[in-house]
Symmetry: C2
Subunit: 417 residues, 2 copies
């Protein structure tokens, strides 16, 4: 992609209301744009990252048997009444009426829709287990929305729902999803911890959140630095310095960003929508369910909170908008332009994703500053000084120093990387 | 994908309210499920087709310089008032209030959002032309919704917006998009005609619709069978048998399905949102715009209306949910199972997308009937009778006759296909 064409404009300053590092950098780097509070447009760079995150998630969901579908946003009042959630969701539902005066909600989650759907298709133990997921826009009528993509009213989410014949089968899958979540977050460049939390009206059981420890987060976590004990402060009557119930070490406290959650749903939704199956002995039983969410935008923001420096974002390789940022210094110079163009074409032919800063009337200093800001992992610099030696500048975004590489070796270096 | 696992259940009969061929077949084949009138879930088979259509569209949009982004559904009243469309959209907007009593609309289209966004980023002729598109869910508060995916209240749409310095540049791109649209529809298995139509409040100019001539459609088209003259009946004071204004032949009349449209927007939206640019001489001018839509679900339904027989759908190769349907007859038989499993693994390794009907306790007759129904282009049949001769049954969905092919030749046959 040529940067001269890219729909993108970097800003030196973030607007005053931007209150977290990720919020500031996403706005300054032209990754997102705010339409109204808590509602964002994803611009080309932001959408590229979002799609890469979605691809990681799809790969991992498919690897544990997930089948993708796509459920509606407009949901009838009746199904929300069947689970007694029409009035009791927190944050409340966005509600509206259609031209026939029928009341509808904008889906903040899809337990109701998927359970009534599953009840149409599941009848026998042979239809189970079943794992269905989607990646789709959710709506939550929040009162406060802040932190940029950390808390929004409209956001892209992956939600997986699992259906089982019995509790043991459910529990095994629940663990499998938990392990898959650690893997997904790791591929996105994040270390996460699994934290016990409340059911938030989805269930009366404990549930689990995946938290990234960060000052930008809204959650407070009590955790043990030595064992796996971790609880959301909401449900933990414990404080920093108390002893860990599991290993007796001293507990720590931290603010966290919740990037995913997993919920045992038991028979609650199956009961509400008559989701039964016939077991091997011909007995009618309720299906056991679980649900499992990941917010794409929030994950993206969390990655930035944990991967940045004072100059900008530092994207992990797997979810970077491009692999390579090729900077043509002094692009009005015909020699520089020719070499840059050739490198650009070569890399594209080799299937490497390149953002090519071919802009004229932009100083080398500004190109470097914007390159730091948008944080593509590998940077190649073509300047008059170096092409005389058949070299280009090579710098990794997460390293301090730049080195010189011969032009002929670029592809080999990038393939090894 | 193994059919024994696939979230899918074929129905022999369509519900009574299903009123078009595509509606009946999509429901019977488990491609979609109706949540409420005019609102559908896309099940795995339906989503696969939808994704393939989206990929065709993305390829063709990128080929004409389109950059993908993703705009919000929740849109503030203020931007709709700026274009005087808050009260005047037809069908009307879905409206709702947030917890701060602020009025919002669910986006039925994105001229307002994209123009105010472009105004933040465009300042010079160097920023133009610019082509931005998205594939995203739209909401239209229709009074009547019928025909399954032909007229819905919530639907996936590709919308492209173009921004130009002058009318000539706009007109050239408008023609380019028109040609690209013919190409997209052709790749999806559809012949379409371009029809003059009214501006529907988007513009006061004539606009163009892409219509597929079909009895399932809602539009009436006056067209000339000899030249390119074609008009939507809404704006044409002509009737069947009148003479073509261009070539004097007799005109024909037909009902059409509108699968795409292109709109010259002129300066209307630029004026409303102060979208100016400085030209080469430093003069401030309004940007000229166009917009270009394709409804994904409706296109999918139109493909079925034009590609089916009395037994079911007949998917064109490029957008079929799978390339090959592998049917294991008598899957309880160990020999049949072994051969089928091997063919399945071989094809998967070769990168061929296979749906593998490995269901037990389903008769060969039912497997054939369901295979006809869901319409995958190539069918391979493994039966005890034929594997003795090292052969499988080979049938193309759009041909009447089945032939025998040696098992060792399958991959070669499919690669040539």
């Amino acid at each position: 992609m040529k940067q001269s064409i890219l729909f993108y404009k970097a800003e030196k300053e973030a607007p005053k209301e931007a209150d977290t590092v990720s919020h500031k950098l996403l706005l300054r780097g032209g990754f997102v744009d705010q339409l109204i509070s808590g509602v964002y447009s994803f611009l080309p760079l932001g959408l590229l990252v979002s799609k890469k995150i979605c691809n990681v998630i799809r790969e991992e969901m498919n690897a544990i048997g997930g089948q993708e579908l796509f459920l509606p946003t407009l949901q009838p009042k009746s199904i929300w009444e069947q689970t007694d959630r029409w009035e009791h969701m927190d944050p409340p539902l966005f509600k509206l009426k259609d031209r026939h005066e029928k009341e509808l909600a904008l889906g903040p989650t899809h337990e109701e829709v998927i359970t009534q759907l599953a009840a149409k298709k599941i009848s026998s133990y042979r239809d189970l287990p079943l794992y269905l997921y989607q990646i789709q826009t959710k709506f939550r009528n929040e009162m406060r929305f802040s932190g940029g993509l950390l808390r929004t009213r409209e956001f892209m989410m992956k939600d997986l729902y699992s259906f089982h014949t019995d509790m043991q089968d459910f529990q095994e899958y629940y663990k499998k999803v938990a392990n898959t979540y650690f893997k997904i977050f790791k591929r996105c460049g994040l270390e996460s911890i699994m934290v016990e939390a409340s059911g938030l009206g989805f269930t009366n059981d404990f549930t689990h959140e995946f938290q990234v420890l960060s000052e930008a987060g809204e959650d407070t976590i009590i955790y043990c630095p030595k064992c796996e004990f971790a609880r959301n402060k909401e449900i933990a009557e414990l404080k920093e310095g108390d002893k860990c119930p599991d290993c007796s070490r001293f507990l720590k406290i931290a603010r966290g960003i919740e990037i995913g959650n997993i919920f045992p749903l038991g028979e609650k939704y199956a009961k509400a929508f008559n989701l039964y199956f016939l077991d091997k002995d011909g007995q009618k039983k309720l299906v056991i369910m679980g649900c499992y969410g990941i917010g794409i935008g929030r994950l993206m923001a969390a990655v930035i909170e944990k991967n940045h420096d004072e100059d900008g974002m530092i994207w992990p390789k797997e979810i970077a908008p491009f692999a390579v940022h090729l900077l043509s210094f002094d692009h009005e110079n015909a020699k520089v332009r020719k070499v840059s163009d050739r490198i650009y074409q070569d890399l594209q032919k080799a299937g490497i994703e390149v953002l090519y800063d071919d802009r004229i009337k932009v100083s080398p200093g500004q190109k470097l500053a914007e390159s730091d800001l948008i944080g593509i992992p590998v940077r190649l610099i073509v300047s008059e000084k170096n092409i005389g030696k058949n070299k280009v500048g090579l710098k990794y975004r997460d390293k301090k120093t730049e080195s010189l590489a011969s032009i002929s070796s670029i592809k080999t270096i990038l393939k090894k990387w």
